[in-house]
């Protein structure tokens, strides 16, 4: 699970001397970049937008590093900024466009068959997520893929626990229906 690998950020370092702050910033970015990129990518569905929004998320977070008081909550706080940034984007654009930059797999350890299979599975996953509304997608990504507790998902989506339960349930039901259709 990604959640278990979250790296607590020493936010105090970000406010220290310029060199220490620079090092802490670099470490913070490298430790969390992949997780945040994937979280946003699952929500917006394409690499170009995910790249822009990931950058935006980190710039927002690092510009406001002083706002966080509890260091162990930094990962959730960053994740919340990512969720809001992605949801704002989806609200502005009103749609998700699932597409890839290019299909040029470069993992040399995999056989062509493995690469094809993985590519198909990824396409299946993204198409399944595409059937959900933005909030349902955010809820299932945070709950089932990032393994966040429902309370934290509710906080990230700024809604009640009951509402988030409804989003999670609807998302699971829709995704199952999609999976059943895809298997036929």
């Amino acid at each position: 699970m990604i959640a278990s690998e979250w790296v607590p950020l020493a936010m105090g370092d970000l406010l220290d001397s310029p060199q220490t702050a620079q090092d802490a910033q670099n470490r913070f970015v490298s430790d969390n970049l992949r997780r945040i990129f994937l979280q946003i990518y699952r929500m917006v569905g394409n690499i170009d937008d995910a790249q822009d929004l990931t950058q935006e998320t980190f710039i927002k977070a690092l510009s406001r590093a002083g706002q966080i008081k509890e260091e162990h909550k930094a990962a959730h706080w960053l994740s919340r900024i990512a969720t809001n940034t992605a949801l704002d984007f989806l609200r502005r654009h009103g749609r998700v466009s699932f597409c890839e930059m290019e299909l040029a797999p470069e993992r040399h350890s995999e056989s062509p068959e493995e690469i094809l299979l993985r590519s198909e599975q990824q396409t299946y996953l993204q198409k399944g997520l595409e059937t959900l509304s933005p909030r349902e997608r955010a809820a299932i990504v945070l709950r089932d893929m990032e393994d966040l507790p429902a309370e934290e998902v509710a906080r990230q989506l700024s809604c009640s626990k009951a509402t988030v339960r409804s989003h999670i349930a609807n998302a699971r039901i829709k995704f199952r229906r999609y999976a059943v259709r895809a298997k036929r």
């Binding site: 699970m1 990604i2 910033q25 670099n26 970015v29 490298s30 970049l33 992949r34 990129f37 994937l38 990518y41 690499i47 790249q51 990931t54 950058q55 980190f58 710039i59 690092l62 510009s63 890839e100 930059m101 290019e102 299909l103 040029a104 797999p105 470069e106 993992r107 040399h108 690469i115 993985r118 590519s119 599975q121 990824q122 396409t123 996953l125 993204q126 299932i140 709950r143 089932d144 893929m145 990032e146 393994d147 429902a150 339960r165 409804s166 999670i168 349930a169 609807n170 699971r172 039901i173 995704f175 199952r176 999976a179």
Partner: protein, 199 residues
């Protein structure tokens, strides 16, 4: 009697451990007896596991070098964005405590008001001012005669007379309770008001 099935919404939440305690107990009891619902729960649980396993997978076009390249590009852009932000943002002032700031600002406002309003505020009995020796025993008398108004005491007199040519009948004289006497008349240049009072 066959019990009615549990709604899909509850089964989906039950599979992920997202139901409140008492609802979960009820669903658990039903699922233990109902094969259909149990199968559905297993399906949701499998789906959840599948999603969790794929959470870390990058998109097919981003494996290996492509991801490294994209990560480097994003890292560079983030640094650039932060540097640009630092350039355009105003220099950060020293950290101040908001409560203290408000208290000091309030105090400053109160002191300013006191400084401005002090002459008009009565903070106690004013010190008595002794009359000048030459005015001791002065009993003033205000009077209006013809087109003039004046103040007189003994041999001393001050009067203001309307200019020549002003009909004395057109001069309006007034006396009020504050001990003022006044005259008002109309000239070519406008209305002239003269008020005389003793202090």
């Amino acid at each position: 009697m066959t019990p009615s099935h549990i709604p899909s919404v509850q089964l989906a939440l039950f599979a992920g451990g997202d139901l409140p305690f008492w609802t979960r107990v009820g669903v658990e009891r039903h699922v233990a007896q109902c094969d259909d619902c149990a199968a559905l729960v297993r399906e949701y649980a499998r789906q959840q596991l599948d999603l969790a396993q794929r959470a870390e997978e990058l998109p097919p076009s981003l494996t290996g070098v492509a991801w490294q390249s994209l990560a480097s590009e994003m890292t560079a852009n983030i640094r650039l964005g932060l540097a640009a932000g630092a350039c355009v943002s105003a220099p950060v002032a020293a950290r101040v405590r908001p409560k203290l700031t408000f208290a000091l600002a309030g105090l400053a406002v109160i002191l300013s008001i006191i400084a401005v309003e002090r002459p008009r505020l009565n903070f106690g009995p004013r010190p008595a001012v002794a009359p000048a020796p030459e005015l001791a025993g002065f009993v003033p008398m205000l009077e209006g005669t013809g087109s003039s108004v004046g103040i007189r005491n003994g041999g001393r007199e001050l009067s203001v007379t309307a200019p020549v040519g002003i009909d004395e009948k057109s001069v309006i004289r007034t006396v009020n309770a504050r001990g003022e006497i006044g005259s008002r008349y109309v000239e070519d240049t406008g209305v002239t008001v003269v008020n005389i009072y003793a202090e």
